[in-house]
Symmetry: C2
Subunit: 78 residues, 2 copies
Amino acid sequence: MKHTAGIRAFGLHLRRLRQARKLTQYALADYADISRPTVQRIEKGETAASLDVLLALAHALDIPLRELVDAPGIDKLA
Amino acid sequence: MKHTAGIRAFGLHLRRLRQARKLTQYALADYADISRPTVQRIEKGETAASLDVLLALAHALDIPLRELVDAPGIDKLA
């Protein structure tokens, strides 16, 4: 999997967004209609979420997609 | 596949970004190190690109990821 640095940066960003709203991984997974292990793997940077999952997460967090992916360092080449 | 409206909106946006830079699908695929059929399916809204592919496309177009996904209508629920 390429762009691992960007994917890890996104995972950290997602975790911060979730925790800022005092949501558990279960709650976020439930709102986004995805599995909790998927949320866990995305937050750990182990999985590159697909656009439909990114859209589901943005809707669950009630933020625009561009904000969801605006993670510090995500555009760094690696 | 859920969020099909958002995925289609992204495909159109990607096509506009590519054409604005006078790039063929082949050229964009080459720069992003992905296959041309993948670019084609993404532009047609048939495939939900994963985060690593989105990052590769953003780098190929030399724009931040948040700009790449800032497609009109992408956040509409459907």
